[in-house]
């Protein structure tokens, strides 16, 4: 996608989002859009390590929750404003990503994936035992009074998440066509051959886990204000982890656009099902979609589109 088209589209989406806040007042829409955007941000983040580098992370919820709980702790301790909390969430997520990478990246694919799950469980155990942030009982977050010029707090949160997500998409796109992105793709395609071609595989993998961790931490940082009641069960939920995998895999992991498309499709479906059927069924849907899509279209929607375009051109 040419730069002009991309940045134009990004600006258009942002403008549309802002326009929406002037037009619609029904809080439900902003709730739903916030969740779809959150899913997209997580999907884009997951894809940096999963799609670009080829290492599967099952523990996405751990990073997300780290961002959320950093907000809970810092809000309680220092009462920081949202932008700083987001930065803090990103920093903590990035550090955890770096640590996880350092400990586990020498492991082969499968063992790495299990290790990410282990890490998520370990972090959850630590948080459950940390009474300062509410432990297993959870923590209430008061919705702040200030919401700038928007009509309500949720509108502001929506715009914040829109900005964060669009930035992440831009970063992901820049990464994929950069020297760093080619190095990561080489690691994904053939790690040994990449190493022999001069790619410092361990170092790049660490960059990848750190970027992913930071983005996920950022995704989690506003979450406490969104739900107002944070407890480990929902913050660390497997649902978040499955979404983070399903969206990129359904959309297509090889391309930066994949997680975006996947998140739009899966996220919207979930919101519709939540309203029309039930919220438990909504949880099941993502698992089914994941299995069905990767069985029938392992390259994802982007992969299918590419094949179709190639056949048209031939």
């Amino acid at each position: 996608m040419k730069p002009v088209a991309f940045w134009g589209a990004l600006a258009a989406v942002l403008a549309a989002g802002l326009a929406l806040t002037n037009v619609a007042a029904n809080e439900y829409y902003y709730n739903a859009l916030y969740l779809i955007l959150q899913g997209m941000l997580m999907a884009v983040a997951w894809n940096v390590l999963g799609g670009f580098t080829g290492y599967v992370n099952f523990g996405s919820a751990g990073f997300f929750a780290m961002g959320a709980y950093t907000t809970v702790a810092l809000d309680k301790a220092l009462g920081l404003p949202l932008p700083l909390l987001i930065l803090a969430g990103g920093a903590v997520g990035g550090l955890v990503g770096l640590g996880l990478g350092y400990l586990t990246l020498r492991l082969k694919g499968v063992y790495f994936a299990i290790a990410t799950l282990a890490m998520s469980i370990v972090i959850e155990t630590l948080v459950v035992n940390w009474s300062y942030v509410g432990g297993a009982k959870g923590s209430y977050m008061l919705t702040p009074e200030k919401h700038l010029w928007f009509d309500s707090y949720i509108q502001m949160l929506f715009v914040v998440m829109l900005l964060l997500t669009l930035s992440a998409v831009a970063v992901s796109r820049a990464l994929s066509s950069s020297r760093l992105g080619r190095g990561l793709a080489a690691i994904r395609d053939d790690e040994v051959a990449a190493e022999c071609a001069g790619v410092p595989t361990l170092r790049l993998k660490l960059v990848s886990t750190t970027v992913m961790g930071a983005m996920m931490g950022i995704a989690g940082a506003p979450f406490p204000y969104f739900v107002t009641y944070v407890e480990p069960g929902s913050a660390f939920s497997l649902f978040i982890a499955v979404n983070a995998i399903a969206m990129p895999m359904i959309g297509g992991t090889a391309h930066w656009l994949g997680p975006v498309i996947g998140a739009l499709l899966v996220g919207t479906t979930q919101e519709i099902v939540k309203v029309t059927v039930s919220s438990e069924m909504n949880v099941l849907i993502v698992g089914v979609m994941l299995v069905v899509f990767i069985t029938l279209a392992p390259q994802g929607i982007v992969g299918v589109a590419r094949k179709y375009l190639r056949r048209r051109a031939a």
């Binding site: 999963g50 080829g54 599967v56 099952f58 492991l107 694919g109 499968v110 063992y111 994936a113 299990i114 290790a115 799950l117 282990a118 469980i121 370990v122 155990t125 035992n129 497997l238 499955v242 995998i245 399903a246 895999m249 992991t253 438990e280 069924m281 949880v283 099941l284 993502v286 698992g287 089914v288 994941l290 299995v291 990767i294 069985t295 029938l296 392992p298």
Partner: protein, 291 residues
């Protein structure tokens, strides 16, 4: 500080637990240890087995272990079917690693959510005469709800080991892991062999599930605690070795039991991951693995 009977009981209970862990792991030892299929959903199938035992036990009063054995052939067919899908989608095209892993992860998630939708998150348990009884030898306790699963697991392990080394299909399964082409030249179809092996793996889940619910109450998310354990055992035992797997299971059981007794039960989930990490760092081939 250590009293002799506390220590003895911790060790015995660890051995009994470890034996049970072998039943939990043996399906994965076949599928992952021999065939390199990463069925991370294996513990979820075990939970399904536990629920099957629960249903038939609470409605018809059937002995849970018996239910497990009877359910095994049904699970076998389910496993063969799932392998067919897995093969069609992934192995045939060489996509195994990333997509195959996600496939089983999705499957695991679906199973857990469906169980929650149908049965909720309450704990379920089974009734049987021997649950609640304890044999005492000196100052050591042998609770029957642990001893029976230990005995069944041992029998299961011996049976599978004999099957793998004495029957044509068993040896074919080992062969397909080592040299697929040679197997084809011998006239056996590798795909059907793997299908058989995968079905066998899932069949053991039926039995392991029934043992699980004998040992203690079960709810849908219990399976997740076992993911770390089964992979730790397969790796510690060494890929491809059933005896190694059993010994590794015993070791894990004892270590977990000691940690739980002397440091507190909240630490047991971490033991498995610790063992896995140590093994991968110090001796990745495991105790008895082939290179």
């Amino acid at each position: 500080m250590f009293s002799a009977d506390l220590l003895a009981n911790a060790v015995v209970s660890g051995i009994l637990l470890g034996g049970f862990y072998a039943a939990v792991t043996i399906g994965l030892a076949i599928v992952f240890g021999q065939l390199d299929i990463v069925n991370i959903a294996h513990p979820a199938f075990i939970i399904v087995g536990a629920y099957v035992a629960y249903i038939l036990n609470s409605h018809f009063g059937l002995d849970p272990v018996l239910v497990g054995i009877v359910a095994a052939p049904v699970f076998f067919f389910a496993g063969a079917l799932i392998y067919r899908v897995y093969f069609f989608a992934f192995e045939r095209t060489g996509q195994e690693s990333l997509s195959g892993l996600a496939f089983f992860f999705g499957l695991m998630f679906i199973i857990e959510v469906v169980l929650i939708l149908i049965y909720g998150v309450d704990y379920r348990l089974v009734q049987a005469d021997y649950i609640g009884q304890t044999w005492r030898v000196g100052f050591v306790d042998f609770p029957l709800r642990m001893l029976v699963p230990f005995a069944v697991s041992l029998a299961l392990t011996v049976a599978i080991h004999a099957y793998m080394s004495r029957t044509f299909i068993g040896r074919a399964i080992q062969a397909v892991a080592q040299d697929r082409v040679a197997l084809q030249l011998m006239g056996a179809d590798p795909v059907r062999i793997k299908q058989w092996a995968f079905g066998l793996g899932i069949a053991t889940a039926a039995i392991a599930g029934s043992l699980l619910i004998v040992i203690g109450p079960v709810e849908p998310s219990v399976g997740r605690q076992y993911i770390g354990r089964v992979f730790a055992i397969v790796v510690l035992g060494g890929m491809g070795s059933i005896q190694g797997m059993f010994i590794a299971a015993l070791i894990l059981g004892v270590v977990e039991s000691m940690v739980s007794t002397f440091a507190g039960p909240s630490w047991s989930p971490a033991v498995a991951f610790g063992v896995l990490a140590l093994t991968l760092a110090l001796r990745p081939a495991g105790l008895f693995g082939r290179q």
